[in-house]
Symmetry: C2
Subunit: 210 residues, 2 copies
Amino acid sequence: MNKQAFIIIDMENGFINPESAQCIRMAAQTVNRCAKAAEAARMRGIPVIFVNRIYRKSGVDVEHTRYRAWYDGGRAMSEDCEPVIDSNNPAGLSPQENDMIIIKPRFSAFFMTELDLILRRLGIDTVILTGTTTPNCIRTTCYDAISLDYNVVVIDDCCSSQTEEIQRANMFDMKNIGAHIITADEFVSDNYEIQYDSLAVCREEVRNGI
Amino acid sequence: MNKQAFIIIDMENGFINPESAQCIRMAAQTVNRCAKAAEAARMRGIPVIFVNRIYRKSGVDVEHTRYRAWYDGGRAMSEDCEPVIDSNNPAGLSPQENDMIIIKPRFSAFFMTELDLILRRLGIDTVILTGTTTPNCIRTTCYDAISLDYNVVVIDDCCSSQTEEIQRANMFDMKNIGAHIITADEFVSDNYEIQYDSLAVCREEVRNGI
């Protein structure tokens, strides 16, 4: 039986609302599905972790390539911005009691955060990824997770991109490196289980010499 | 004037030769262009850094999602494999005197390597990325480099993928997060200079408040 964690990345007003310069076009339509999948995780005792972006109002922690657009666009997800583009998770997808919240400074949920330490402490071997945006924060988290020896499950229709074409190209690449791509319906189903535990298989074979 | 480093990722026999199970289809055709661009870098006094994969023959350091295919395919880039799929850089693209070599255990050239420490010591602000494979090792290095506050230049036709479609989709995403995508001809040209120093601009604006 895999020990899983359910991770929701950057599902914040500043990335979801059309008013925001940082809006990801397909994100709003995934809010309800993410909420439903997160609830299924909680019912199974799978820890739910929100990984959010919060920028300082000076912008000293914004990626240098994004700084100008972020500044000119109203400094979304900082103290100074309008409520409609703030760092809160949207109504219906906010952290519940016992969920965890991690603030990340860059794309990957692992990059200079305590996520790996928390997952180790909990004995997690499999991360389930949801949120936005697929080509940036979901994908970098996926690659870091595989690099750190986690199995990775990506719930395709709980993730979002600016276009369907970007979404497809990125799911293709992540599948190619060994991520399991599933749908929200599959995850919510009573029959859900991880398709192939490549970590356990690899560990066994390395230990024994195939 | 930017302080640059020229980085060549995973251009090894095991990723280039068609005999290898890990062969990247478009890699062989980039060898000469990489060599020419690296030589232009050396002539300008830009440090050249080879970042290579070398696996242990037990496979304990192979990504768990790749372990089986790697093992069954002849354990490329390890002590045990045939010379044609070893970890050497191909003829015509081997490290020259004063070039540096770094061994990396995962996709990104920054992931648990000394690359960032070396770049800091040298005062580098801009990394020029070449090598293979575009969706995995080039792209993760690009995202980590931007996360670590480097300007990123990717030489499109010195990088390679399994298909042209994958190459295009990944260049598109990297351009979107602020990488400069150029060609080998542009880099080799006497007129070459980095197009936009977003790091310097951002630093100045953050310091002064725009």
